[in-house]
Assembly symmetry: D5
Homo-oligomer: 126 residues x 10
C-alpha cells in the first residue's frame, strides 16, 4: 500500500529559483484487473518555493522507499500518477510540479501519463 | 472494418489536469488502391476533462482491440488518422487530443499524419 | 527537368485541422557547377485547408515521381528547395507548408535548407 | 495460409561465392491460441550455389508476397521460422541459409527464433 | 518463491537445428541482505534437441509466470542465474542453453551474470 | 572545500549578444550523509554582458580547477548547484546564467538539478 | 590568418523567406596560450533577405576555404565565433544569423559558443 | 553504363599487410524491371598484395567516378555487387576483397548483398 | 592508497560454469605526473572455479569500496589495470579473468587498457 | 613533417599480458594532391612484451605531440597509416600492434585503413 508517511522533506537551500528532477527507472506495481505486475519509470520534476517562503525538497532516500511501497499495490496507471502527484504536492507544496510515469508495453501499447500541480512552464511539461 | 463500438471509457480519477499518451507500434491496415498491407505506429495523446466535468479515459485493452479492427480495412493514411481522432473524440470528449500515425517507407517515402481535436498546446502537437 | 505536371492532389478528408509530413530519403540531383551528383533528403510538411474550403493533399506516388524528375537536373540546393515549395504551394494552396532539404557532406560541410509558405507555427519550422 | 507457390527464383549471376540478406520489418501473423495478431521482422540470409551448379536466388517481390500470405494464419513463432526455412530451402537449395524471426514484446518478453539449413558459418549465424 | 512447477514445455516442431531466444526486460527479485528490490533483464537462449530426440521448447506464458515467481524472493544475482539455468535445463534438456541476467546499477556498479548448460557455441555465449 | 578564489574571468570580446556553454562530465563530490562519492556532469550556460558594459567570461582552465575543489567536499546535490551558480554569478555578473548538475544513479534514482540567475530564456532553461 | 576576402556571396533565389544551415565538422584552429590545436564544428544558420531587397547567400566552397584560413591561427573560442559572425554578417547582411561553435573536450570540459546577428527566432537559437 | 576503364590504381606503399575500406553512401542505379531508381551504400574492403609483389590500391577519386557510372544503368542488386567485385579484382588483384551493397527499403524489405574474392578472413566477411 | 584488504569473496553457488561481469562507471584516481584527477570505467569479467574446487566470487559492495580506495592515489592507467587484476586474481583465483579500464579524453586521446589472468576465451577478451 | 623522435616509451609495468588502446579523434593532415586538409581518427592498439622481455608502452603525451606533427604534412591515407605503424613498432617492438585510421567523407566516400605488426588476434583486428 502506498505509504506517503515514508516521505521526508528538507528545507530548500536557496532563495533563487531552481528546478529539481528525479527519475526512478525501477518502478513496479500490480494491475488491479489481471493481477499481473506493471513496470515503469517515474519522473518527478518541481520548483521548490524560495527558502524564505518555507520551500521544501523531497529527500532522495525517502522518495525511493515511498515508490517501493507501490510494489504489491493493485492500481491503474492513471491513479499511480495522480496519487504520487497528490502525495508529493502535500509534502512540499512546490511552486509547480510534474509527475510523469512511462510504462512498458502491454498488449502492444506503451503508455505515458503526466499529472501536474500548479502552472508547469511549457518547456518542463513534456 | 473499424469498430468504434469496441471502445470503452472509464471515469478519469482526478480533478487536476493530466495528459495521457498511448503508443501502439503494431498497427496495420490495407492500401485501398494496391491492396498491399500498410504498417505504422499510432500515438493517441489527450487531456481528459476533470472528474467533476465527467472526464473519461479510453480503456487500454479496448483501444488495442479497436485498433486491430483496421487490420483488413482498405483505407488511406489521412483517413485512418482522422477516423481514429473522430471515434476517440466521440468516446471521451477530451479537453484536447492529438492522434499521430507514423508510417513505414512506401516508394522511398515515409509519412506522418497528425489530426487534432480542441486546442492542442504547442509542446504536445509534434 | 523538374516536372510539376506530374503532381496530383486529392481532396482532404476532414474539416478538422491536421498536419501531413512526407520524408523522401532518396533524393538526388546534379550540381550545376561541377556536374557531380548531389544526394539529400526532402521533407514536405503542411496543413491542408479544411475540406469545405477545398483543401487538397498531394498524392504520395505522384510526389515520388515528381521528386525523381530532378534526378538529372543541374540545380543549386537553395533553388531545389524553393522550387519544390513553389510547385507544391501552387498544387495544394495549403494553410502553411515547410519544405526542408538535408544534404550529404560536400567539402566537409553538410547543409540544410528550409523554405516556407504561409505562417509556419514555431514547433513545425525546424 | 502460407503459399510457397508464390515464391519465384532466378539464376544466380555469379560463379564466385556471395551472400544475400533480405530483412522484412513488416511481418505479421496470428497467435493460434489467443487469435491476437503477432508482429515481427523476418531475416533471410543465404549463400546461393554457384551458377554452374544451378544456383538460385529468391526474387524480391515474390518473397514479399509469400511473407504476406502468413497475415491471417494462426501459427507459432517456432513454426513460422521453420516453415519459411523449409519453403525457401526447397525453392533455392542454397549452400547454407539462416532464417531469423524477431518478435515484438508479448507479456513483457521479446523472442527471437533462428532456423538454419546446411552449415551456416559462425559469423553469419547470429 | 521460485516455482519451477509453473514451467510448461511443448514438443519442438522441427528436426533441423534452430535457436530460440527469450528476453524478459521486466524481472525483479529482492536482495537477501538489504531487503531492497533488484531489477534486471533475463535472457534465455537455447537449441532444443531435434523432434525425433524428444526435443522440447519452453512455453512463453509459463516462462513469464515462472519468472514472476521470483518477485518477492530474497536471492543473489549469481543464484538467480544458476537457478533459472537449472530449472529450464531440467524442463527441456536442450542441446545447449545460456541464461544471462543483466542487472541495474547498485552502488555505481552494474552486473551481468551468465550461466550455461552443455557446450554453448562461441557466437552465442555473450 | 570549494574555492571560488580559483575562478578567473576575462573581458568578453564582443558587443553583440552571445551564449557560452561549458560541460564538465567529470565532476565528483562526496555525500555529506554517507561519505560515499557522488559523480555527475556540470553544465554552465550564460550570456555575458556586452563588452562596453564590462562583460566577463569565465576562463576555462580556472573553471576546471574550481570544479575540482569540490572533490573531497561533503555537500548535497542542491547545494552544489546553487553554490556554483552563486560563485559564478559573483564572478561574471552575466545577463543570465543556468547551472545544471546531472547525477549518476543512487538507489535506482538519477537526479538533475538546475539553478538559474537572471531571466533565462525558455529555450536555454532545460 | 582568417581571410574574409575569400568569402563569396550569390543572390538569393527567392522572395519568400527561407533558412539556410551549413555545418562544418572539420574546423581547427590553435590555442593562443598553449599553441595546441583546437578542434570543433562550426554551424552557420541564417535567413537571407528577400531577392528584391538584395538578399545574398554565402557560396559553399568559399565558406570552406574561409574556415580553413583559421587553421594555423592562435585564437580563443569566443573570438573565433564572434569573428565568423562578423565576417559573414558583413558579407550577407542577413535578416538574422546564428553562428555556433562546438568544441572537443579540453581538460575534461567541452564548450559551445553561440553568437547571433539580428533577432534570431527562439526555435533557431539553440 | 558501368565504366571500369575509369578505375585507376596506385602502388601499395607497404610490404606489411594492411586492410583498406571505402564506404560510398551515395550509390544509385536503376531497377531493370520497373525503371525506378534504387539507392544504396557500397562498401569495398580489401588487403592489397605486398609492394614487392606488385600490390595495388584503387585511387579514391577514380572509385567515386566509376561508381557514378552506374547512375542510369538498369541492373539488379546481385549483379551490381558481382560486377563491382569483378571490376575491382581485375584492377587490383588483391589478396582478398569483399564488396557489400546495402539497399534502401523496397516493398517493405531491405537487402544486403556481399560478394567476395579470394579467402576473406571471418572477421572481415560481414 | 589501494586497499586489497577491503575485498571480500563468497563461495560460488554452482558447479556448472558461469561468467560474472561487474562494470563500475564511476572510477577516479589521480595522474601521478600532473596531480590532475583521472576518470574512467572499470570492467571486471571472470569465470569462478566450480564450487567443488573452492570457487569464489567477489562480493559487490566490497568491490565498490576497494575501487573507491584509488580515489586519491597517484597512479598510471596501465598500473591501475594490472593492480586490480593482481588483487582480484589473488582474492578469487578464477579460471580466467579480464580487467578493462576505459578512460576519459586527455589531450584529445581516450585510452582503454585490458589485463588478463589465465586464458580468456576470445569472445570475452574485448 | 612527422617526427618519430618526439615519441617516448616507458617500461611496461607487468609480466602478464595486457592490451593498450589509444584513440585520437582529432587527427589532421593534408592531401598531397589537392592541398586540402584531411581529418580523421587514429586508433593504436597493441600488446607490449612482458616486462622481463623489456616490454615498452608509448607515453600518452608524446603520442599526442607526434600525431600533431602530421598537421601540415602532405600525405596519403595509406601512407599515414603505415608510417605510424612503422614508427611505433620501431619504438616499442610490441608482441602485436594494429593502427587504424578512420577518415571523414571525401567525394561522398569515407575510408578506413588498418595496418598491422606481428600477428594480431582476430578479435583485435577490426
Amino acid at each position: 500500500m502506498p505509504k506517503p508517511e515514508l516521505l521526508v522533506a528538507f528545507p530548500t537551500p536557496a532563495e533563487s529559483p531552481f528546478v529539481v528532477e528525479h527519475v526512478a527507472d525501477e518502478f513496479t506495481s500490480v494491475c488491479p484487473v489481471t493481477g499481473q505486475p506493471d513496470f515503469g519509470a517515474v519522473t518527478v520534476r518541481f520548483e521548490p518555493r524560495p527558502a524564505k517562503a518555507g520551500g521544501l525538497c523531497v529527500e532522495l532516500k525517502s522518495l525511493k522507499t515511498y515508490l517501493q511501497s507501490f510494489r504489491n499495490e493493485g492500481i491503474y496507471y492513471e491513479s499511480v500518477t495522480n496519487r504520487i502527484r497528490d502525495d508529493l504536492a502535500r509534502l512540499m507544496d512546490p511552486t509547480w510540479m510534474l509527475v510523469k510515469t512511462d510504462w512498458k508495453v502491454r498488449g502492444g501499447i506503451r503508455s505515458v501519463v503526466r499529472a501536474s500541480h500548479g502552472v508547469v512552464p511549457g518547456m518542463w511539461a513534456t
